[in-house]
């Protein structure tokens, strides 16, 4: 692409605009491995003490590895549930002439628009009643069901782009409707499943309010709750430690993006290239 304007003013302008963000990331990293004298921004010594949470258990907290494992379990379980149900429900809503189809379509829309916070107390009461309060299972089920409307809607959109002829051809070839779905249609919406999977995982990884309210106990704590408990701890607040754990918390997200950014970019150019 050739430009018909000079580049440097725009570069400078955008540079100034982004500088605070870049500086923040830079200091986030620098502060985790250094100490600075009070009142100064220039560090004066290297240290690994802010990363001590990796080999020590902080007083009154679970080990970081339990929290990490919980977070991983939480994010991947919700992702699996969301993927499984969305790919089936999206297909039904897109293709099957089932009773109440338009009701479900509208209902899913409304549910998607519902703010989570308004449901919190009701969900809390329900979980307590069925005995799933303070369990990972409970919060996984809640998170998955709140993610479902979005997932179903996305998958329906992907199914809508698959040509009907492929299904008709499958039926003619002797496949049952179920075989058509599994063997012929599902492979066409792979990009959709993939992107929904990534998004659900990230949403699960960063979820805070649900685990905080529904599963606050040490043994079921996820990283976001673990992190927030550090802020609430007013007696010995350690900014460097907080930043290190924060960095530790986003590393998987960054890795995920590094590996899959191409696929995430391709989501909308994917689909059916028959």
């Amino acid at each position: 692409m050739t430009s018909n304007y000079r580049k440097w003013p725009m570069t400078l302008f955008l540079g100034i605009l982004t500088a605070p963000l870049i500086l923040m990331y830079f200091y986030l990293f620098v502060d985790t491995v250094t100490n600075s004298p009070p009142g100064s921004m220039i560090p004066n010594e290297w240290t690994l003490e802010h990363w001590r949470f990796l080999w020590q258990t902080l007083p009154g907290k679970p080990t970081i590895w339990v929290a990490t494992w919980n977070t991983f379990l939480f994010a991947s379980s919700t992702t699996l549930i969301v993927l499984f149900i969305s790919s089936a429900a999206g297909y039904s809503l897109s293709r099957l002439n089932m009773p109440g189809r338009s009701f479900f379509l509208g209902g899913v829309m409304v549910l998607h628009a519902f703010p989570t916070v308004t449901l919190l107390i009701a969900i809390f009461l329900i979980l307590q009643m069925v005995g799933l309060y303070n369990t990972l299972t409970g919060v996984i089920l809640v998170k998955a069901s709140l993610e479902l409307p979005f997932g179903i809607w996305i998958m329906k959109g992907f199914y809508d782009t698959v040509p009907w002829e492929i299904e008709m051809a499958g039926i003619q070839d002797g496949a049952s409707r179920f075989q058509v779905w599994i063997q012929l249609v599902l492979p066409q919406v792979k990009p959709g499943i993939f992107s929904l999977g990534i998004f659900s995982f990230l949403a699960g990884w960063s979820e805070f309010i649900l685990p905080l309210v529904l599963a606050p106990n040490n043994d079921v704590q996820v990283l976001s709750v673990y992190l927030s408990s550090l802020i609430f701890d007013e007696t010995n607040f350690d900014m460097g430690l907080f930043k290190s754990i924060g960095l530790f918390y986003v590393i998987p997200v960054i890795i995920l993006f590094l590996f899959f950014q191409n696929k995430l970019m391709n989501i909308y150019s994917g689909g059916n290239q028959g």
Partner: protein
């Protein structure tokens, strides 16, 4: 296998698209369902393959009643306009898919795929995916997939519409060759009269959910039962003149030209308003009953030249000539109509 539609009725909601249609397709025959869009030809096809449930009547394959048999169990091969290949499978997997569903052994599938691939000339493409094939190649794969389990009937839904012109010509003869080699009963749905005439043993021409005429292509061209059929077949299209029959002749009102009409017909409709159809090959210089007009359009088809001749009253006659008559736009000409081949229709459009 013989296919019989017996009083077949199809409704979409409250609209009856096809009302009590009868159609018999002979064993080993290739028949064309020809008609404009919305005439019900594709609906008929989908009823035969079972994708549409029918609202009345029966469908028989041979002597077996297939009316309530599920699509999967009908043993029908279908080629779609968009080919509908499975994008994620190789050509080999695409063609073998129907056999895989029948749980045939891998070796058996391989052998049959190779055999059919050779017949449709795609043996070198088996490892490719549909996205890497040209339109004509995709078409061949679609045909192979439809034929591999030896279906009772092969259904072709506008199979040539997505191909470019030169490929269309090639695939026309290829499909016909493969159909004749396999001896399979085939139904072709098309809106293109050339396709129907060149590929099929018989043509069923449809209009508004009814079969208007069903016969061999040549006979349909020469003896259409109605103005609709006459207008649908033939390129360039037939030209129509309105006028009256008086004293054994058709009178063209604007020129007063008298075109003699067979005695039997003339007697029956003496004094009535009729419409005559004159095909371009029967309006030529130097023979027949002459009529005067002005050349209003000249179109070269290479070997032949098409002239439109406008009569004083505004009616247009067409003439297709292989010789060089040298007429130019605006020339006054006096060419002859071969009155033996005039097609005469009454005011409702029915052939007299």
């Amino acid at each position: 296998m013989r296919i019989l539609l017996d009083k077949f009725t199809k409704k979409f909601g409250l609209t009856t698209v096809i009302d009590q249609m009868d159609l018999e397709i002979h064993h080993g025959e290739m028949i064309a369902l020809l008609g404009g869009s919305g005439c019900g030809k594709s609906t008929t096809l989908f009823a035969i393959c079972g994708i549409h449930k029918i609202n009345g009547g029966r469908i028989l394959f041979g002597d077996k009643d297939m009316t309530n048999v599920a699509s999967q169990d009908r043993n029908v091969g279908m080629v779609f306009q968009s080919f509908a290949l499975y994008p994620h499978m190789t050509v080999e997997k695409n063609i073998g898919f129907p056999l895989k569903l029948r749980k045939e052994s891998t070796n058996e599938i391989k052998r049959k795929v190779d055999e059919i691939a050779e017949m449709v000339h795609i043996e070198l493409l088996l490892d490719r995916r549909p996205g890497e094939l040209s339109g004509g190649q995709q078409q061949r794969v679609a045909l192979a997939r439809a034929l591999i389990r030896r279906p009772d009937v092969l259904l072709l839904d506008e199979p040539l519409a997505n191909l470019d012109a030169s490929l269309r010509l090639e695939m026309r003869s290829e499909i016909r060759r493969i159909q004749q080699e396999t001896g399979i009963t085939a139904v072709l749905v098309t809106h293109d009269q050339t396709e129907a005439m060149s590929m099929c043993d018989r043509i069923a021409i449809m209009d508004a959910g009814k079969i208007v005429q069903i016969t061999e292509p040549k006979n349909m061209y020469e003896n259409p039962v109605s103005k609709f059929v006459a207008g649908f077949l033939g390129s360039p299209p037939i030209a129509f003149l309105n006028g009256r029959i008086e004293n054994g002749s058709f009178i063209e009102p604007s020129t007063g030209t008298k075109l003699p009409v067979a005695e039997k017909i003339a007697k029956r409709v003496n004094g009535a308003n009729v419409c005559v159809g004159i095909r371009a090959e029967f309006f030529q210089p130097g023979s027949g009953t002459t009529i005067k007009g002005i050349v209003s359009f000249v179109e070269s088809h290479g070997r032949e030249i098409l002239y439109n001749v406008t009569l004083p009253g505004g009616n247009i006659l067409r003439s297709i000539q292989s010789g060089q008559s040298g007429a130019k736009i605006g020339d006054h000409v006096e060419w002859g109509i071969n009155t033996d081949h005039m097609l005469i229709f009454d005011s409702e459009g029915t052939r007299i």
